[in-house]
Symmetry: C2
Subunit: 167 residues, 2 copies
């Protein structure tokens, strides 16, 4: 870890979770990370409200996002801190950050640099396919592409890097 991160850790401590009332009705940021030290983060386009991605933050990613106003996550597939856009240039500028009632989930409203894409496949949103409703079994259930044009070519941007999708 870089020395500046080590320095930062000495001063940036989140509030301890003391009571349900404090967590739900108070003004302390008292986040709850899961057994892996992570919490999920929904990221939406600040202009359209479309969900761009669902990422995960550890405490370092949360601190860095608060400090810098640029989205940082924990990459589960690469097991490293992830400054979104560091490879692609598609940084996410945080317009607003919110936390949920029990403080185990985050919501970022962002503006994305460059092409505006947030998905490693090349689409604007990771949620580029819809699931049809009303089916009572899998017969005929086919995902529908709601985005049809990739905003960048992932084979160029991520040349030589492994695909993060795990089966």
């Amino acid at each position: 870890m870089a020395p500046n991160n080590a320095d930062k850790k000495e001063t940036f401590t989140f509030a301890a979770r003391a009571s349900v009332e404090q967590v739900e009705e108070g003004s302390d940021l008292a986040p709850k990370f899961d057994a892996d030290g992570l919490m999920p983060c929904v990221t939406t386009d600040a202009a359209t409200g479309h969900v761009l991605m669902l990422g995960y933050m550890n405490s370092d990613a949360l601190e860095l996002t608060i400090e810098t106003g640029e989205a940082h996550y924990w990459s589960r597939s690469r097991a490293c801190l992830w400054h979104k856009g560091a490879t692609s240039g598609l940084f996410q500028r945080v317009v607003e950050m919110r936390v949920d009632d029990d403080q185990d989930a985050l919501w970022l409203r962002v503006q994305v640099d460059g092409s505006g894409a947030s998905c490693h496949v090349g689409y604007r949103s990771c949620f580029y396919r819809s699931v049809p409703l009303g089916h009572t079994d899998r017969i005929g259930l086919q995902l529908k592409f709601e985005e049809v044009t990739k905003l960048f070519d992932p084979t160029d941007v991520y040349e030589g890097l492994p695909n993060p999708t795990r089966l």
Copy 2:
């Protein structure tokens, strides 16, 4: 499990995850549940794009949501299938369901019945507080209430039921 659920399980099987290309670029619904059998689901207001909640679905909840067009989740705190609105009457009607690139997260766009609230604390959204940006330590960092009026009184609606928030 109710007999009709047992019947349903015989026919509703999701696609097996065979390749990254199938999962990312295909039309099969091949969801990936975590070690607890769950996947996160972002739920937004179909009209405003505001994030209402972040819930979790197991395979039964996903099947029932697809079949009925009403949001079903798995309640982690109560450890049971959860037809959202069954207690409060605040059912979530699914306008659109989407799945993300690696199919380990869902996005529901919904219309909420009644008062329109989705948060057990009484607010419209579970994300009723914002986190200020630009802080380099916790001094002075205070959450700000972005919703100030509860849409219902949780002590009435959930009378006698335990609060789901865990410390």
